[in-house]
Amino acid sequence: MTEKILTKDKQKEFLSRLIKVYQVFAPVEKEGNLLFSQINTPEELAEEYRNTKLPPKELFFPHSEALFRFRKGQVIEESPNEAERVIFGMRPCDAKSLTLLDMVFNTEGFKDPYFIARREKTTVISIACAQPQITCFCTSFGGSPVSEEGSDILLFDLGENYLVKSITPKGQQLIDSLGGLLTDAQKSDLKKRDELIKTALAEMKSEIPTEGLKEKLEGMFDSPIWEKIHLKCLGCGICTYLCPTCHCFDIVDEAVDSEGKRVRNWDSCMYPQFTIQASGLNPRLSNKERLRQRMMHKFNYSVSNYGQTFCVGCGRCIRNCPVNLDIREIVKLISGKQEAGRSFQ
């Protein structure tokens, strides 16, 4: 695939041209939060940022969406009719999360038409991280601040230029459509890119022990650690809603007098009602069982089912947990590599 150069003075033109052809989503500062949002002018793009508050999953799997409508006993199909889209400025960890979500929603047996339609119509342009945050730990789970996984195009910020690398045919097609806007990368650019990669990797401060994590967890369902870990957990949905890979949902009807819609809403395994049955029976009665489920799902069950850990190390759950329940500390505890002299509570 090709490597091109986009000079920063042409970034606006680049975005403008994309906006003409695609719906373009990019990080935008909205009411104090950096969020992926549709932009209509290049100026709307946030200037400098580490990562967005919310992961990009909602662009494919919205918080609430109608699966179909119904009126007077008839089902009216809600066809997932999406325009061609570009998401600009995603981070590699989030781009990787999309490949994990693919495994859930696009299976051999069943296909989720809403998610798949959006995925097919979206081109992902990511920007490699030059400055990982102190809560970033993507490298612990096989990711990297400069990973290409899940991106169609990956940009490297070389200061005055972006090095533009197409990863997939979809990305190549987009680059080809831009004609002369991009120039060929020179050796010196590639050298700068390599420097950036080196620095970014060196900047990764947070590393957690993940070797054999799944195998350890397999024998830990009844471990006493769950009794301790959950104590301070408030049972809110921040970690799940801000997680790029958490994908649990609920299906409910929203109707007035038999006219309405069947809606899929985000749901969280941390909520008490998540597993309650009509009879009132609830197999996960307390935060202990729920937090265990969340950890097991990410680090054990997902590996069984998809061959992948469902954590990309973005650190959103760490930064935003109201009680500083740090997933890295839980992993350390599971691995038996907790700092000496510090009890986990």
Partner: protein, 328 residues
Amino acid sequence: MDEIESKLRQTAKQLLSEGKVDLLIGYRQGSLPSKTTPCFITQEQEAAELVWNSFCTNNLAVYLPGLFRLDPRSKKREQKKVGIVVKGCDCRSLVGHLKEGQVPRENLVIIGLPCQGMIDEKKIVAKLEGKEIIKAEEQNGQILVVDEKGQEIRLAKEDFLRDCCLVCQHPVPPLYDILIEGKTARQAVSDEYTEVKELEERSIDQRWEFFQRQMSKCIRCYACRNACPLCYCPECFAEQSQPRWVGTTDDPSDIMAFHLGRIFHTAGRCVDCGACEAACPMGVELRKLTRKLIKDVGELFGYEAGVSAEEPPPLATYKLDDDDEFIK
């Protein structure tokens, strides 16, 4: 080490070693420089991990109702003796629990700490304009912050206090078994409700627009509810399915209905501890709503929540001279 912190550790150690408490809830250093984290200790040697500083923002009373709730499996109530570290506001929440019969007083050992005001981490983050905090600690009324570039920044603590601390009228816990003395509490100020008044003066349309804009940020993670010590209902009205009071979608009307329902439920009970707003990952200004209710309850019923364990709450009070103005 800070004198108060060392006294706190001694006290905790003694309570645990003498068996006066089975469990003690306090703070310890968190995994991030500007955060402490709640801790639940049962061994006397763990007392050495307790901290007391300007980052002890969490309201630990939030954990109490859950600790004493009927266990759904054993159908028994915990008989544990629980020690808890409280600031003024945390203690007022706890007083609410006592009044509402959620927590048995005889099972509690309340360790009160005069509060000097707590730091709002979000204000420091904003000040650093995207740079990461590598170190943050209090030094002589200043906050020393080191950013990721290694740059030291000294901030006046007063400018980075939480909004609720800036209007706090009860920095000293109104109820305690042990008071850890050593530092005087922050001067109580008279709350003028400036920002509430400013909102009250706006037109209905402007206020509606304001609240809609706030609610548009909400992602329904329920962190505000779960962080609130008074939101201890085992099943929240927002999640009940039979009957369903509120839709569970992200539709603005569903979100607004949830927040209004929840916040009105705290009327006459909310102590303005700020836990809801601190927990919100999206920056919804929830205290604009809660404080309006605190102000109204004060003006209409002359009541302030959590100050006295004896005074009956307004919703459980009948006064002959009540002018019933709201119903006319």
